[in-house]
């Protein structure tokens, strides 16, 4: 409680307290951030690369990037073009870093890549400055000339293409989007860039090997040299024989055919390949990724080595057919494919299909039968849709462990989960998003990876990440939840916060600097309560525990204030780089905190806290600004004082009510009146008695 001496002035204080002049507003208005947003250098990167938004190059456009003419001032004689990438989908950051400045005669040179403020979009984007390929693309060649001769394919396509892939492999990069539109025949044959779109998103499905063909394009994940080798094979096939017949088939028909008789047989049909190409097609179009040719075999083959490959045969796995939807199946992979196509019907009947018995008796795979039986048993009788779908995914994976993970409406590989989440969040596709999240929750990826070792080693890193983010999904705290999963699984995704999305932010320091630069325009009315901002910073700083403001436990309105939690996350991030002074951001935060301080009950404490905010904001440290409010001693003092004040106020209130109660006054008056009357009458009696006694007895 305030001292009695100060009490007298409190009535006056309460009037002026609400108008405490913290001086923060003029401080923010006059602030000029040393951190630029890059808006002063529009359409320019590293001072020598210039983008010309008025000169689009639609022939290089694709769903994930727009192409424009560009110029490299360091080498003005070279024809350069720029690819402006979408910022809601993760891009291939490692390959971009590896290929910057890398020169190879059969690869497009990447002159530079980085964040450029694009004047035509009014926002910053990742822009790639690449050598513009000369000559015709293979797609144009096919269109103009039809099929190419085997030798021409060998000399002008396969030789440079495989050499280019080998050069990429030296940098630990796979291409992932080999297609006729991405290979150019000019003075030298050049393989187009592979860094502007996620792997497998630009190719025709025929160019994808069986372990990826069924996947949703963004769910295919990273490519490897085996998948590139397969695509090289399909490209050669298209150039020599054409894909018209296979393209005429529907995707489902082709997948079923490829799973039934094998990819090699699906492509070859009854065709006899020339001696030159027999080994090649048998090597690269093999279903099993472990047996498929890699770049080493391709290079040896190009150097003239012959392998005497045996043609992959169509396997009839089961001794007896499994009847499903009136059709007999001998191949478990085709059965798995059909199960996914008829998901609902299968889910209804699968418990009565005796699939485990078929696996044991006809496929002679006791371990598979046991796994199927276990998956069926775990799902139980009264299962929810979620459980049934999980069971279905597991059973399909058991039947076709080499294939992708197949869900009710999605087919993907674990490293495709991140890009898919980004895409679904961007499109607000909640149903698909829920399916992906359920897959993370049920840990089906680990189950899938444990089933067989079909070239799944490259998934280990992402499997570990999925394991790590699983508990984050359940958390609703700021810095966690779905957004945290998004950033943890997509390290190259820029911050999707509405505050920062236009700035194309990739690191925590960039985020803090951008917020500092934006403080004068956004502060103080814009709240920091932003799940994307919190999750982005938490992900980049590898924050593992939820932020809890334990010092403010006694003031729930502050302890549970999400904006304060986000500020704490930002403060922690700033602490990692102590030299980062952010006066603008600190002032903006101080102004937000000033509003929160109204939760402090004691006007004197509140006023003192408000008055010190300016000094703290001037330090440019968010942690210092937060220390004004995250103060255990103050919180306890305020809480206990407030409780005492309420109690005292209540006691006084009841006393006042009692003193003003007319019935009580009347009762007390009657009693006091009676006592008074009685006393007066007794005095009269005493005096009279004395007088009478005196007279009677002559005293």
């Amino acid at each position: 409680m305030a001292s009695p001496a100060r009490m007298d002035t409190l009535d006056a204080q309460v009037l002026i307290e609400e108008q405490v002049d913290t001086g923060l507003r003029p401080m923010l208005e006059n602030y000029r951030s040393p951190h630029s947003l890059g808006h002063d250098r529009k359409d320019e990167l590293n001072k020598h690369l210039t983008l010309y938004p008025s000169r689009p190059l639609p022939q290089f456009n694709h769903p994930y990037a727009q192409a424009f003419a560009a110029e490299d001032a360091h080498s003005p004689q070279r024809s350069v073009y720029a690819l402006v990438l979408e910022n809601s989908i993760p891009y291939r950051l490692n390959p971009i870093n590896e290929l910057a400045g890398f020169v190879n005669p059969h690869l497009c040179t990447l002159h530079g890549a980085g964040t450029v403020h694009c004047s035509h979009l009014g926002e910053s984007r990742m822009v790639l400055f690449l050598d513009q390929p000369t000559g015709q693309s293979l797609a144009e060649v096919i269109k103009a000339q039809g099929r190419l001769h085997e030798h021409r394919v060998m000399d002008f396509v396969l030789q440079p293409l495989v050499r280019a892939l080998a050069a990429l492999r030296e940098r630990k990069i796979s291409h992932g989007n080999i297609r006729p539109e991405g290979f150019f025949l000019g003075d030298t044959s050049v393989l187009g860039e592979c860094i502007s779109a996620p792997c497998g998103t630009l190719t025709h499905y025929l160019y994808e090997p069986p372990e990826r063909i069924g996947c949703t394009p963004l769910g295919r994940g990273e490519a490897n040299e085996k998948t590139d080798a397969y695509a090289v094979g399909v490209l050669a096939y298209e150039l020599i024989y054409g894909l018209d017949k296979l393209k005429a088939m529907s995707r489902e028909e082709f997948i079923r055919l490829a799973l039934d008789i094998g990819c090699y047989n699906a492509f070859a049909g009854s065709r006899e390949f020339s001696d030159m190409y027999t080994d090649f097609f048998r090597g690269v179009l093999t279903d099993n990724p472990n047996e498929r040719w890699g770049l080493d075999q391709l290079l040896q083959w190009l150097d003239g080595k012959r392998f005497n490959m045996i043609a992959p045969s169509a396997s009839k796995e089961a001794s007896r057919a499994f009847t499903f939807m009136g059709e007999n199946y001998f191949n478990r992979r085709v059965l798995a494919f059909q199960f996914q196509r008829h998901w609902r019907d299968t889910a209804k009947e699968i418990k009565h299909m005796k699939l485990d018995r078929w696996a044991e008796m006809s496929l002679h795979k006791a371990e598979m039968a046991e796994r199927i039986e276990r998956a069926l048993r775990i799902a139980g009788d009264a299962s929810t849709d979620k459980h049934v779908n999980d069971m279905m995914t597991r059973i399909i994976s058991i039947l076709d462990p080499a294939g992708p993970i197949r869900g009710v409406s999605l087919t993907l590989r674990p490293d495709g989960i991140g890009p898919l989440i980004a895409s679904f969040m961007d499109e607000s596709s909640s149903t698909e998003l829920n399916h992906v999240l359920t897959m993370i929750e049920t840990d089906v990826s680990n189950y899938w990876s444990d089933l067989d070792n079909y070239n799944k080693l490259d998934q280990n890193a992402v499997l570990w990440k999925l394991q790590r983010v699983r508990p984050y999904l359940k958390s609703r705290a700021f810095g966690f939840g779905l957004e945290r999963v998004l950033y943890d699984l997509n390290p190259s995704l820029s911050c999707q916060s509405p505050l920062l999305k236009q700035q194309h932010i990739l690191t925590v320091n960039e985020a803090l600097k951008a917020l500092d630069a934006l403080a004068t325009t956004l502060g103080p009315d814009t709240s920091f309560m932003d799940r994307h901002l919190a999750a982005f910073v938490a992900s980049k700083t590898d924050m593992g525990k939820e932020i809890r403001l334990l010092d403010l436990q006694t003031i729930p309105a502050l302890a549970d204030n999400p904006e304060l939690v986000v500020l704490k996350i930002l403060a922690k991030a700033q602490q990692r780089n102590e030299r980062l002074v952010l006066v603008g951001l600190a002032t903006w935060a101080a102004m937000r905190i000033e509003k929160m301080l109204d939760e402090i009950h004691n006007r004197t404490i509140r006023r003192q806290m408000k008055q010190q905010l300016r000094k703290l904001a001037a330090t440019g440290s968010l942690n210092d600004v937060l220390s004004a409010v995250v103060n255990r001693e103050m919180a306890v003092q305020d809480h206990e004082g407030f409780a005492k004040a309420i109690a005292l106020h209540q006691i006084n209130h009841s006393k006042i009510e009692r003193f003003q109660n007319p019935k009580l006054i009347e009762k007390q008056a009657n009693e006091l009146g009676g006592k008074l009357a009685s006393t007066i009458s007794n005095i009269i009696l005493f005096i009279t008695a004395m007088v009478v006694i005196g007279q009677t007895f002559g005293l």
Binding site: D11, V14, H601, A645, N652, I656, I665, A669, G674, S681
Partner: protein, 167 residues
Amino acid sequence: MAKKEKTAKKTVHAGTIPRMRGRNKFLLILFSLLLMALLRTGFLIFLMGMLPSIVVYFFDRSPHRYTFRTIFACNLSGCLPFLGHMLEYGPSDASLHEATSSALTWFLMYGSAAMGGLLIAFTPQIASVMITGLHQTQVARLQRLQNRIEAEWGKEVTQFMARADEH
């Protein structure tokens, strides 16, 4: 338990409608016998003079019986001159006649009782004025304290009060 409740009920009853205790009854009888012995026929006159007190005794059912006490004391004050006269001149017919035939004697007896009644009628009003004044001082002091609490802690302290009032 039931016994305790019974006792409590009895106490409440005794508190609201007090009855004369045995010792008082004994003293009253002793005092009456003494007066009867001293006054003889005059005792009847004394009883007639104390009639207002006797009536009030039966009508005043309040716990402290201030009305009865006041009227009794005043009434007795009015009867004391008569008693003094009787004791001084003895309970002879002449002195008895002299005292009873005097209007002053009866005026004193009943007038003093009436004065007791007036005392009972007016003193609560005087007391009410005194108490109201005293309470207003207290309320003003408490209200100042309440204002200081609200200035220090804000109107939030009164919100709890409002909720309590609603309940």
